[in-house]
Subunit: 451 residues, 2 copies
């Protein structure tokens, strides 16, 4: 990587008479910097009146903008003490970062705050007219990563998931091949709505769902030692910023906004208009609610991770085995909704575990045994099991071959007679249990961000 | 009530030559109106060029604005056919409604769209410069009701609930008097958060809550024949407009907003900024989400009522006895949060029933027996039972004395040793079961709005 930064310090008074002193300070600092990164160098381009123009270049790991901020501190301290001079302002006229990509982009890359020029595998980020605050916030490295990630993503777009069969049951004779949603709706067991992708389960359908819940708990979770916890249904953005959900699927979130106030007087106009018009005065409502600050549960694991934040777990209390079945998941599905299989709102049991790699490998094996028991002995399904690296891991470059792969998920897929195809059991089964494994490494990685 | 409306019709052409014809049409219509309401009269005030000024007054039930709209239809039809004249525009310069209040207001009353003058018990609503659309929407009667309601509310503000003891248990010796939330938090059984008034129940606290759930179901609901249903956690405004929640407690709702799109390109800037800054770009988010269209479950009954919308229930399938325990209730509490007793999010079992008045009276008695059994034999509580008319029924004027009262709720109150006072068991118990009775009449009233 090659960094080149052109900056201007504006001092509180004329510095032309102490030019030598400034040169010597910078020269001293260059010596210090040389110890850290041989390629890094601060050059004085011009000194005039109260203006100092600098150029900082580097080819190494020490970033010029960090050098600039440190340089500012040194000059402020030295010149402040001796000459009562302060630095009023820093401006970065130009900051150019050249770096090499692993692959040539397939189409134009854009990122906020900067221009990106890419010639074959040579990328250049050009920032202009940025201020000190911007540098302090340390966006630069994340901008470089974002460019690299966007190129990588272009190669994975539309690619299928890595999929590797682990196990397959025998074929089964299907005793019924109708679409269960349609049939249940006809019988009045189910009613669609009241909003998109949601269902009202009348007693007959509710009984089926709740029986599956009991099977999951009694036949899988309890025998393995899992204990129930209850988490909130509302996940604040701070948590999703850590787990990556907010940047990962912002278009699939049901957002939550809070009233700005509960003061009844502030709501009087809204109430009066609603009573008179029997319609919602959206403009008045909008003034009385905050911008979204949270979302409805997307998956239950983030809040379980959050619950361990700052907690030290002793070796002897491992493995920690917990599950939530209370939070209701909401996912905004634009298309592809189908019956109770692909919905905007579903009920799921999500187990989370913390343990040594050995404990979790052992748990995985036992869990698979329990699943086999449920699918073979209770549901009598035709199903298969596959080792899968989902797209979000592929994007992050976390793909190995069959031998080296130790993160990823195991998908359980069952044959749905009425659809005539193998369908992700995970999806069909989503009303029952979240079957994705947080295998040791994957889980620890997320958790580490919290602690 | 005295209504006085001054309106202007603007015709597509000069009408001065057909003044007589218009007079005769209006006179005929007056005769028709006289049959409906003797006090109603349309008077021509002026005819000039293409302008017709009218005044309509009434003291009865037939509203002048409805007469005006009918008058418009008649004139349009008659003059259109004969003279190819149309009515381009209706303007209401002034609409005054005088009516008497039951009580003199304690302070100034304001409502949208109109001025309200009140002199002792004499109220006057004055509307100026309103258009045809406004009249069509039939806001007038709701505006009159709103004025009356606001005066009534002034008398109930700060008033206590109607409260009448029904039954009282013996005093009990308390074996423990600490604050359960504090103690559980100290032991690590509970963790506050992640957002205001929410809790994370670790296995020990979850086990207590879930045990109470089992008791409620096995000891109260199942023995009485209730069946479980599963409803959505998200309630659209349309439903709350019918149940009155939207006008009743808009400041206590957790609102839900949807993404405007799931299209990943439309979210690119949001994603990029989130990745670079590790902060939420609220301005970009705001553009990508809709205004609120729904809220998180406030109580479970509205969606159960909704589920019966348009459904005919045969006499022989009564009583219908259902409950939901899946939706998680959210209520924005500005102050007064305390531990797990007064929270923003709670779990509740809400039973709803439809039946004849006799069936429901019988059910109420049996339910009280089951509650007694739970509180006396299982929890061994010191508690009491009171007949209560909550404020929202008081406001609506639904208060009777002990003898005539047949809507309202029965509250179950238990002594909380650590608080040193009788505390609403309903509140303390809110994590377990919604104990308010939807007594026959109250329930049917709400349901009727839906069907």
């Amino acid at each position: 990587m090659i960094f080149d930064l052109k900056a201007t310090f504006t001092f509180s008074n004329d510095i032309s008479l102490i030019k030598n002193e400034i040169e010597s300070s910078i020269s001293d600092f260059n010596t210090v910097l040389f110890e850290k990164d041989k390629s890094l160098k601060i050059k004085i381009k011009n000194v005039k009146n109260n203006i100092l123009n600098l150029e900082i270049s580097s080819e190494g790991s020490f970033r010029p903008h960090n050098a600039l901020l440190q340089m500012k501190n040194i000059l402020s301290k030295e010149l402040g003490k001796k000459h009562h001079l302060g630095i009023r302002d820093i401006k970065i006229e130009n900051y150019t970062i050249d770096f090499e990509l692993e692959k040539e982009p397939l189409k134009k890359i854009n990122i906020p705050y900067a221009n990106v020029d890419i010639n074959e595998k040579q990328a250049r980020i050009i920032l202009k007219e940025i201020d000190e605050e911007f540098l302090r916030r340390n966006y630069i490295d994340r901008m470089i990563s974002l460019v690299k990630e966007k190129v990588e993503n272009q190669y994975y777009e539309g690619k299928e998931e890595f999929w590797n069969l682990i196990w397959k049951s025998e074929e089964k004779k299907h005793i019924w091949s109708k679409d269960p949603t349609e049939e249940m709706a006809k019988l009045g067991w189910l009613k669609q709505g009241p909003t998109k992708g949601k269902w009202f389960y009348r007693p007959q359908a509710a009984a089926i769902l709740k029986t599956m819940e009991i099977i999951a708990i009694e036949e899988v979770l309890k025998p393995l030692g899992f204990e129930e916890i209850i988490e909130s249904n509302i996940v604040p953005f701070e948590v999703w910023l850590k787990t990556g959900h907010l940047e990962g699927m912002p278009g699939e979130i049901y957002y939550v906004t809070e009233p700005v106030t509960r003061d009844i007087e502030k709501w009087e106009r809204f109430i009066d208009l609603t009573k008179i018009t029997r319609e919602v005065p959206y403009d008045v409502l909008q003034k009385n609610v905050s911008h979204p600050t949270a979302g409805i549960c997307y998956a239950q694991c983030p809040l379980i991770y959050w619950s361990f934040k700052g907690k030290t777990i002793s070796e002897k209390s491992l493995p920690v085995l917990v599950y939530d079945k209370t939070a209701v998941s909401g996912r905004y599905e634009s298309g592809g909704r189908h019956g109770i299989e692909r919905v905007d709102e579903f009920h799921r049991i999500e187990p989370v575990y913390i343990g040594t790699k050995e404990q979790l490998s052992d748990l995985r094996d036992k869990m698979i045994e329990r699943y086999k028991h449920v699918f073979n002995d209770i549901f009598e399904l035709e199903w298969r099991m596959a080792w899968v690296t989902p797209w979000y891991m592929q994007q992050a470059g976390k793909i190995g071959d069959k031998g080296t792969q130790d993160t990823g998920t195991i998908d359980f897929e069952a044959y749905m007679p009425y659809r005539g195809l193998l369908f992700l059991f995970l999806q069909w089964f989503q009303e029952l249990m979240h079957l994705i494994f947080h295998v040791s490494l994957g889980f620890h990685r997320v958790l580490m961000d919290f602690i």
